[in-house]
Point group: C2
């Protein structure tokens, strides 16, 4: 297991800068009054391909040798990582293979195709996915870019909090959502090197609280297919992200489905930005733990904005 270093982050920063946005940081008098903290929202919903994942994906794609790159890249995520990898591969002019269940929503397939990804369908089972993915890799020689348990991806995600810190100056804490732990690991990697005094809090849906339970237990606990509206946060920690979470995270807070949806709607209403349920989990946990954050300068990572506008979660309530 290769653990990425701060040198890797510096290389990633240089490498990805031409292909990504320096996303804005928004503040809100309303949110500050509501929480008692001073919040700085790092808006990765405005990022290329609509999510922070393009940072790690671009670092992986543009770090390949020409020989490796010619064979393309591959993944079996069907979420923001697939869009981001397709985007980055498109910018380099190489193929991106995405293995997706044939039962996946057409909108998700269209989004991948829209960013130039090449879809190979599998049956909706882990065994079929793994078999089809192995076939694609064997046929193409494409480089597998894991959505989070990959040092190149973590070094790329680390550029987000680095940028945030430069934009706002000192921070007391950063709160980011946790699923597989790619963003949190990148945040730990960056902050432990440039601002070790910054506390790092992970925010997780209570319905998919495997990271919180892992954190308390001291070892990885992986759940099987948890159900939550924050669909980017269902995946479990892996060895590389567990390394960062177990060594650098201050605490992991959870929020219920209702708290997540309420926080999401509140951000849309007051801050006028479109962001995913996953991105609302940090605010939901800050509102539940006001004493932890009161009077502090807190960075909040708004991880992405790819949401189905025809099926907003408060419409089902």
């Amino acid at each position: 297991m290769y653990i990425p270093t701060f040198d890797d982050v510096k290389v990633a920063r240089e490498r990805v800068t031409p292909y990504i946005h320096k996303t804005p940081v928004l503040t809100s008098t309303f949110m500050n009054k509501l929480t008692g903290a001073e919040l700085f929202f790092k808006c990765e919903n405005f990022q290329k391909a609509g999510a922070f994942k393009v940072r790690g994906a671009s670092n992986a794609v543009f770090g390949l040798s020409d020989e490796m790159a010619a064979k393309g890249v591959a993944t079996h995520s069907s979420g923001n990582h697939a869009l981001s990898l397709s985007y980055a591969a498109g910018r380099r002019g190489i193929p991106c293979h995405v293995v997706m269940p044939r039962t996946a929503p057409q909108a998700k397939k269209d989004a991948v195709i829209g960013y130039g990804g090449i879809i190979t369908e599998c049956e909706p089972s882990t065994s079929s996915r793994e078999a089809v993915f192995a076939e694609v890799q064997a046929a193409t020689g494409a480089d597998f870019v894991h959505p989070y348990n990959d040092p190149r991806v973590i070094a790329g995600q680390a550029t987000c909090s680095l940028e945030l810190l430069e934009q706002v100056g000192d921070l007391d804490a950063i709160v980011a959502p946790i699923g597989g732990g790619g963003m949190i690991s990148g945040t730990c990697l960056a902050m432990s090197n440039v601002a070790p005094e910054v506390s790092i809090y992970a925010a997780e849906p209570l319905n998919a609280d495997d990271a919180a339970r892992s954190f308390r237990a001291g070892h990885i606990i992986a759940d099987d297919a948890p159900e939550t509206v924050a669909d980017g946060l269902k995946v479990p920690l892996k060895d590389l992200t567990w390394h960062f979470v177990s060594n650098h995270v201050t605490d992991i807070f959870t929020a219920t489905e209702e708290e997540i949806i309420d926080a999401m709607k509140l951000i849309w209403k007051r801050m006028k930005i479109v962001m995913e349920p996953s991105s609302a989990v940090p605010l939901a946990t800050i509102l539940k733990n006001k004493d932890v954050f009161a009077g502090k300068r807190v960075g909040v990572i708004v991880t992405g904005g790819n949401v189905d506008l025809d099926s907003l979660p408060w419409m089902d309530k």
Copy 2:
């Protein structure tokens, strides 16, 4: 009729700056490819009180003498102007009286109260509104701030395009929605003085196309209660705004309800911002008149972001 001058705009700029946001300008590779133009979205949906109207309202409120101000301000709008005037009055610490029909949606009443406005209810008829408004004015001596046909308001709105031009440099055209014509008049006032080469296009719902018909006829045509999803654009031109529209506007384009809703959804989806149906009318008209805008640098005024998240227009389609 006093027609505001560019000196009034310069005074307004100084006066309102402490109370409003310098809103960001967003660009989108996707939107540029789609339209063939280079679009600069001036995001007044991120403005204080959620709309550009706070510019004109603040100019009116902070331009009052202390003696006048002590009596407060009043309006009978129940939309963004009421929120903006309430906000500005709150910042000055003076009362803002808002006459609203008792049948107005509770959400609108709550929003006005949330910004500190004092509501006096009337019956849902023009005669009752006028009678109740006259009573409120007689009882309080509050200064009436019209939502658009007021030189102070127009001079305030003019600061928006002035700011946009400073942010992006040269422009070939600016497209803004037209209802009563306050924003368009301010844009004409600013551009005719600092950049007369900029073409100014007004964008209007076909269902409420009284401004377009006025423009062709050469005199004001006022419709009675048109129905459109762009509910900020139902009101007719008045003498002061007609002066600017008839003298400085290059053309007025219209869009159907479906075109407006599609453009709104497209902006939410691709640009990740929450904005009102009214604010989508410019993009809808640009998409219909690509030949006019192709290859040009075009400012697009995103006028506001106050929308009912429980009742989005594409949900009814």
